[in-house]
Each structure stands twice: as C-alpha cells, then as structure tokens.
C-alpha cells in the first residue's frame, strides 16, 4: 500500500515530463497507474473479505505515536476500489476531453496527485496521516478547480473551495487531536475498539463539533454546501471525479470511519440527521431550479450526500447497509452523468438544458450511457440504483420516532432524482425533436467509452448483486457497525410496501418532470431569499475580513520607524512590568545605600558626560549634532564596558559606534532639510517613553543585582573553555564553539537584513505608491 501511494506521487510529478515525451498519448501511462493499483487492491480483496484487516506501518514520528500507517478493511477497500477504478476511467476520459490542451501535463499532475491523496486518505490507519492526506486533497482540489486560471470566476471558485474545506480541515485537525487524546492513541485500529472510552470522555463534545465541521465542509453539507456548485468551474473530468464520486465523499467516509468511535450518541445522531436532512431537501429543491447540466448534477450530488449523512446518522444496521449501497450506486450513475454532461458540453458547446434536444441521433453511445444511468438514478428495476433506493426506504421506515420525517426526506429527494433522471437520461437525448442540436464534432471513443463502462457496471451490479458486490458491501457495513453482518442484496423483494412506494416515487417524479417549467417559474420568486443564504454570508465575511485586515495592517505598519520602536518598547515595558508586578521580588534599596560610597571618580565623570549629552540631545535641532551626541553617548558606554571588564563588548561597541556615525555622515547630505513639523507634545511623548524604558531597565537590573549570581554556567565555561574549546577567551569560545549554532542563526539574520535593506533602498517608490 505504501508503494502504491509512493508510485502515485512519483507518477504525478512525472506527468509533465511524460506529456513532453508522449504528447497526446500521455493518458496511457496515467491510466495504467490507477488501473494497476486497482488490480493490486483486487488481489487483496479475498483476504479482506475473509475478515482480515491488513495493516502496514512506516515509522514517521514514533515518539509522538504519529506513523504513516496504512489500514485496509472493508470500508477502506470499497472506497479505494472506487477511487482507483473510477480514476482509471477518468484518466482515459481526460485524455480525450482535454486533448490538445497545452497544460495537459500539469492537469495530469494535479489529478494524479489528488487521486493519490484520496487513496492515502481512505487507506490511512493513523488519524494524523489521515488528516495530512485530507489536506492534500483540499489543496489538489484547489489546483484542479482553478485549472482554467485565466478566468476570474474559476479562481474565485477555487479559492472559495479551498477556504471552506481548508477551514474545515483545520477544525478537523483539532478534532482529531482531541479524539486522539480521548482515546489515548492516534492509531485507527486501536481507536476503533475504544469507542466507549471516547464517547464518555469529557472532550467528546468539542471533538465531535470539530470533526463534524471538517466532514460537513468537505461533503458540502448545509450550510457549507455553496462551494460545490461553484466548484463546477473545474473541467468536467474533475467535477465527475472529485465533486461527485470521491472527494466530497471523503466527509462521508470520515463519518463512516468514525461511527464505531464517536457514533451512537444522541448528539451524533441528531446532528447528522438534522444537517443531512436539511441538505437533502435543499439540494433537491435547488436542483429543480437550474437548467445548467452541471449545476443540476451538483445540486443532486449535494442532496445525495445529505442522504448519505442522514443514513449515517440513523446508525442502525439497515441504515448503514443502505448507506454503503446507495453510495456505490450514486457514484456509478452520478459519475456517468457528469461524464455525459461533459460530452454534451464538449460536442455542442453548451450545457443549457433548454437549448439541447434530440442528441440521440448524433451521440448514440453517450445517449445509451445516459439512458442506463438515468434508469439507475430513477431506481428502475434491474439497476443497482433500484437496490439502493429500496434499502434506503426500508431503513427509513424502520420503527423509530422520526420514521415519517426520514421517509419524507428520502421520498422527496427520490422524487427529484427521478425528475432529473428523466430530464437528463431521456429528455436530453431521446425525446423526439424536429431540430436536434447540431454538434461541433462527432462523438469520440475516449469520451463515450468511460460513461458507457460505468453505466453498464451499474446494470451488471444490479443484475448480479449477490455475487459481485454483496461481500464487499457487507464488510464495509461491518467496519462501521463493528459486528458481523448478514445481509444479502437482492433485486426482487416481492410485492411489498417499499415496492409500492418506489413506484409512487417514479410516478410523482414524472409529474415533477412534466411541470418543471412551471416549477422553475414559480421558484424564481424565492430568489430574494438567497441574499440571506450562506453563499452571500461567505462573500460578506470574506470582504469584511479583507477590509479589516487592510485596516489593521495600515494602522500597525504605518511606515514610521518611530512608531515601530515605540510599539516594541511599550510591549516590552508592559510585559516585564506585568510579570514583575504579579509575583516579582520587591526592590530593597535601603541596605544598598552604602554601595554608593564605593563609587569611583571616573564613573562619575562618565555619568556627567552622558546625562548632559542626553538632555542636549532632546533639544537639538540638527541631525549632525544629534549624531555627534549619540556618538558621545555610545563611546561613553563603551568606556563603561571597559571599566567593568568586558573588552570584547567594548571593542564591538566602539566599532559599531564609529560605523554608525560614518554611515550617518555618508547619507546625511542626501536627507531633506531637518524640519520639525510635529507638535511639541509629540516630542514629549517619546521622551516620556524613553524615560519609562530607562526606568524599567534600571529597575530590572537593580533587582537582578539584589541577588548574588551563582550560576553553574559561569563555572562551567570558565573551566572548559580551554580544555574543550581550546581557547582562553571565554566570550569568543562561547560564540564560535559552545553556542555556535546561535551565532550561525544570528549571522543568517544579519545577511537577510542586508538583503532587506538593499531591497528597501533600491525600491524607488513614488509618493503615495504602494509596494
């Protein structure tokens, strides 16, 4: 498994090179990669179906219990097979869809990167590595949505998706760490057995909120659903792959994965059911209002994701079974539909449902795929979608306080799905039309084969459910429930209530389809409501955030050196004074007065030089005078250093003073004339600040001197400087040997500062211009 992930990353970054070598044939190796991983996973299937959970550990940070841990059980196998199998088709499809695009190599880079990240996400056996892959999918999704980077809307959508899912990701990280703390492990397989420990922990509620935030943003649940329709700005292969079959299901996967750990409580159940229910209904409602093919598909996807979350929330055995079956069925037919929509868009140049009719003549194979997918989506009899829908109805009709609510939700979405399926699978292609939409180019094999394969898979799974998919789905449900499951998928359940309801759904769905024009006209009346929707809220908060940040930056970074220094000094004073005030030692000057008598003559002389110079400095009105006075003060301080036995420091101080004065003189004649524009109070303000800083430093030093300094360090360096450092100058030995790493850091800072100064002085800005 580790090798599969590694190969994915290698292939991803080799994609641009491969494109240069192979040209349009680049899709062959790129499709072979997911296909070989798919085949490899198939070889592991028998042992997983036999009940084994395969694990693989690569040490990463073992001391923190964070490892690159891979874990394969039924649930992750289902997702991994979906990702790689679907990925193979998408890679082929993208080769046809973006044929001749100059950035095809880069596209494959992003797509393969995403696929690998997604694979890593579902195979991760450690919640920290799960999070890493999770973020990687967000980032690669950002790159893919913004693939058409020359369009403003594309970039905005990509950023929106990144912000929403990225923020969710941050919440998820915090949540997963809390889960790890509650369960006392980050390893998934151990965590799965400690469900009680986690749910009874005090941190359960915050962890739950954070994890759900992550899952809901990723899976486009209300109120975070708005990024998904916008993400349709991506090229269609991306929409089909990321935004219907895999990435948006990552949130569902996470919920399913954590069901044994965090599930079963009231909070979990109600939140999932409420949020999922609202999303289901909302997605279905919005889907009817649109005429853009991809928008319709996006909203029905949201609705389906809502249904999956609701089912996870219900949490009973039938509900979870229904969830995995519906998940697979949905991936099959929705993926097909996305690919079909891409074909139509590619061939006719439009995605508007009202302008497209009678395409079955010119796009025969695409039409067949659409028809098959439509029948699966509508839940007609021999298709896998039928089994999914039946199971969902059965699960919702189970004895529970909310059975009618749940049923109404699933029935409503089912009705809309039927309407959409008729519109897309039948209306678009097979409805007779006097004027079929003309094609820009005939249907291409690379474009119609993947949807045909997908839709036929849906049919085959429906016809032979017991043999092909039941064992895997059973293991997946087991992974969520933690107990052995016995369920058989069958096409025919006999004449019962559920079958009747299915038929009713189809009938009502047809009615919705017939009157969809009128419904759309009616729905436009509610457009005013969208102003209060979460999408607008997002725009507002983004705008407000940017404006706020601009304001704060403008007030903090105002470009005046004096305010920066004032801020630094003030912070310094406040922090030190606060900590001294709270529990610092008190200054006792009384018994230290005799020390004044030990004052030596030259110390007094130096003091008499410094203090008048300072007072003079406050009053000086010329730069040259100020610099000269600063020089006097600096040299006097250097003399103090010499008096107190620090020749190294004194030498440095002297040299720096000299340099400062000389450099000042160099630039002196280039500065504008010295004028005093600010009010006198401004000057007193800074004088006061300097005095406060001086007082604080004096106070601190007096306190420090109050206690005898007995540090072992001094003795250590004194003893070892010559023995270990081969030098008699302790200061220098510390600088270049004992603490050389610090010095290295300091000189790096010095070099960076030099480059910064260069950049700042070379940047010739006009007045009022911004950098």
């Amino acid at each position: 498994m580790f090798l599969a992930i590694l190969a994915g990353f290698l292939f991803a970054f080799a994609a641009p090179l491969l494109y240069r070598w192979l040209g349009k044939w680049v899709y062959v190796p790129m499709a072979l990669l997911p296909f070989s991983i798919f085949a490899y996973l198939l070889t592991l299937t028998p042992s997983v179906l036999g009940g084994d959970n395969l694990g693989e550990v690569q040490q990463w940070a073992p001391s923190l219990n964070i490892n690159l841990h891979f874990y394969l059980d039924g649930l992750s196998l289902l997702f991994a097979l979906l990702i790689t199998g679907f990925g193979t088709l998408i890679m082929l499809y993208a080769g046809g869809y973006l044929k001749g695009h100059p950035l095809l190599g880069r596209f494959y880079l992003y797509l393969t990167l995403f696929m690998t990240a997604m694979l890593g996400l579902v195979l991760a056996g450690n919640i920290i590595s799960l999070f890493v892959f999770w973020e990687l999918t967000s980032i690669s999704s950002y790159l893919l949505i913004g693939f058409g980077h020359d369009k403003e809307s594309s970039r905005a959508s990509a950023l929106q998706a990144l912000l929403v899912t990225g923020l969710g990701g941050l919440a998820l990280m915090a949540g997963l760490i809390l889960v790890g703390m509650a369960g006392d492990t980050y390893t998934l397989s151990e965590l799965l057995e400690r469900g009680d420990m986690v749910t009874n922990h005090a941190l359960y509620l915050p962890a739950l909120v954070l994890v759900l935030l992550g899952a809901f943003t990723k899976s486009a649940q209300f109120p975070f659903h708005f990024w998904l329709p916008n993400a349709m700005a991506a090229p269609t292969p991306v929409s089909a792959y990321l935004h219907s079959a895999t990435m948006v299901k990552a949130g569902v996967y996470l919920l399913a994965r954590l069901t044994p750990v965090m599930g079963g409580t009231d909070e979990w159940q109600y939140t999932l059911m409420i949020v999922g229910g609202i999303t289901t209904v909302l997605g279905a409602l919005l889907a009817v209002q649109h005429t853009d093919l991809k928008a319709i598909l996006a909203y029905t996807t949201i609705s389906a994701l809502g249904l999956l979350v609701t089912m996870t929330g219900v949490g009973t055995a039938p509900a979870l079974e229904a969830m995995v079956v519906f998940l697979l069925a949905h991936a099959l037919y929705k993926g097909t539909f996305f690919l079909v929509a891409g074909n139509v868009d590619h061939a006719t140049g439009t995605r508007d449902l009202t302008q497209l009719t009678g395409l079955s003549g010119s796009m025969r194979y695409t039409a067949i795929a659409a028809l098959l997918a439509g029948m699966s989506m509508a839940g007609l009899l021999p298709f896998f979608g039928f089994i999914g829908k039946e199971l969902v109805y059965e699960a919702t009709l189970e004895e529970s306080p909310f059975r009618w609510m749940l049923f109404a939700i699933s029935f409503f979405s089912g009705m809309v799905f039927v309407a959409v399926a008729i519109a897309l699978g039948f209306g678009l292609f097979w409805q007779r039309s006097a004027k079929p939409t003309p094609l820009l180019h005939p249907d291409k094999a690379l474009l119609y084969l993947p949807p045909v394969i997908l839709s036929i898979t849906g049919l085959v799974f429906g016809l032979l459910p017991g043999f092909l998919v039941t064992p895997l789905l059973r293991r997946s449900a087991e992974a969520m429930l933690g107990v052995e499951q016995v369920f058989e998928l069958a096409l025919w359940h006999g004449f019962n209530l559920v079958l009747g309801l299915s038929l009713l759904t189809i009938a009502l769905g047809y009615v919705v389809y017939r009157f969809s024009n009128r419904l759309q006209a009616y729905a436009t009346r509610f457009n005013g409501l969208y102003r209060y929707g979460p999408a607008n809220l997002y725009q507002l908060s983004l705008k407000g955030f940017l404006a706020g940040v601009t304001k704060i930056t403008a007030s903090i970074q105002n470009g005046y050196l004096r305010s920066y220094i004032a801020a630094i000094v003030l912070t310094h004073i406040t922090l030190i004074m606060l900590s001294l005030w709270k529990d610092g030692p008190r200054l006792e000057l009384a018994n230290r007065l005799p020390e004044l008598a030990q004052l030596r003559m030259y110390e007094v002389v130096l003091l008499l030089m410094i203090v008048p110079a300072l007072i003079f400095l406050f009053k000086s009105r010329s730069r040259l005078t100020s610099i000269a006075i600063m020089g006097i003060i600096g040299y006097s301080i250097a003399l103090f250093y010499i008096l107190f036995g620090a020749p190294d420091v004194a030498a440095t101080q002297l040299l720096i003073e000299t340099l400062t004065v000389v450099i000042f003189v160099l630039i002196l004649h280039k500065l504008p004339a010295f004028r005093y524009l600010s009010h006198a109070s401004e000057r007193y303000k800074y004088i006061l600040l300097s005095l406060a800083f001086g007082a604080m430093m004096t106070y601190v030093i007096l306190i420090v001197k109050q206690y005898p300094l007995d540090s072992e360090l001094k003795a250590y360096y004194g003893e070892n400087s010559y023995l270990l450092g081969q030098g008699r100058n302790i200061v220098n030995v510390i600088l270049v040997d004992f603490r050389a790493l610090d010095t290295l850091g300091e000189i790096v800072v010095l070099a960076v500062a030099a480059i910064g100064i260069l950049a700042m002085l070379k940047l010739r800005m006009q007045k009022g211009e911004k950098p």
Partner: protein, 180 residues
C-alpha cells in the same frame, strides 16, 4: 566629502587596517577579538575609503579584478590555453602590445558574494562534525601551532565565515546608501 588629508591617509592605512583586522580575527580565540570585531575593523577601512573617494572608486580599487584574455582557438588544447591565459594575466603589461586581440575582462566582486561565502563557510564548518558521525558543529583541532595565528581548527573556519559576512554586510549597506 573631499578631505585631502584623510583621502591620502586612508590609502596608506587600508593595508594596515586589513592586516590588523585579520590579526584580530585570529587572536580572538585567546584574547579579546574575533570574527565579528575583526570584520568590523576591516569594514571600517573600506567605509572610510568610500567616504573620501566615493563608492565607485572603492569598487574599482578593491572589488574588481581585471583579467586579460582572448577567445580560445578551435584547435588549441584546453590546458595550453589556460596556461597561456595565466601567463598573460601575470605578465600582462609586457604581452599586451603583442596581442592585439587581447581583451580586458572584468570580474566584479559583489558584497553579496562575500556575504554568501561567509555564510557558506560558517555553515560548512559545522558539517565536518556531521561527516565524522558527531553532532553538527562538533569542533576539530589540529595538534600544532602556527605562529601569531594560533592553533587551526574548525571553529576558526566558523570565525572566518563571520568575518567575511560582517565585511560583506557593512560594505553592501554602505554602497547602497552612498550610491545615488
């Protein structure tokens, strides 16, 4: 700033400054001094020169190397060409007249290069420890003394790095500030 006395004096003083700064650098391990102080002393020499003669003059005098050369003939062996080039550059004045195609080439040492060299030297001095399987910055010392300079070892290399970096930084700042 044109002051004849300082301008003349600094030209004589610069070699003394440099020698003293190198001496300070090496004595730093046992007596007051070291890379930082040495670098500052060395830099001050150049800063004074810039102050009196202007940055262009300083660059032309100290940070430019003029080489003479002609393009290599296609059938000429590479090593022979290199040796000729070296000879031409050592005795260029005599040869200049006889080679009409001899061209002047200028190599300019940017202060940034000095900074980079210093940083590289300081960083790599620690790598010796890594190669020997010791922690980064582990010190190695020779067993003999060099008169005046003292005992050679990797920390001295580190100090030389600091020295070069300080000179480079001060020169860069000075040049940028005085250029206009």
């Amino acid at each position: 700033m044109k002051t004849v006395i300082l301008a003349t004096a600094i030209r004589i003083l610069i070699p003394i400054f440099i020698i003293f700064s190198v001496y300070t650098l090496f004595r730093g391990h046992n007596h007051p001094g070291g890379g930082f102080i040495g670098g500052l002393i060395g830099a001050i020499a150049f800063v004074f020169h810039t102050m009196t003669h202007g940055p262009h003059q300083t660059v032309n005098t100290f940070l430019k190397i003029n080489l003479y050369g002609y393009p290599r003939q296609p059938n000429q062996s590479r090593s022979l060409y290199l040796m000729r080039m070296m000879r031409v550059n050592v005795w260029r004045r005599r040869r200049l007249a006889r080679h009409p195609q001899l061209k002047e080439r200028m190599i300019r040492i940017e202060p940034i290069y000095i900074i980079a060299t210093g940083l590289l030297l300081a960083a790599t001095s620690g790598v010796a420890g890594l190669i020997a399987g010791q922690p980064f910055m582990h010190a190695f010392w020779a067993d003999f003394y060099i008169p005046i300079l003292g005992k050679p070892g990797t920390p001295i290399l580190f100090d030389i790095g600091v020295y070069l970096l300080v000179i480079g930084v001060v020169l860069k700042i000075t040049f940028v500030m005085s250029e206009e």
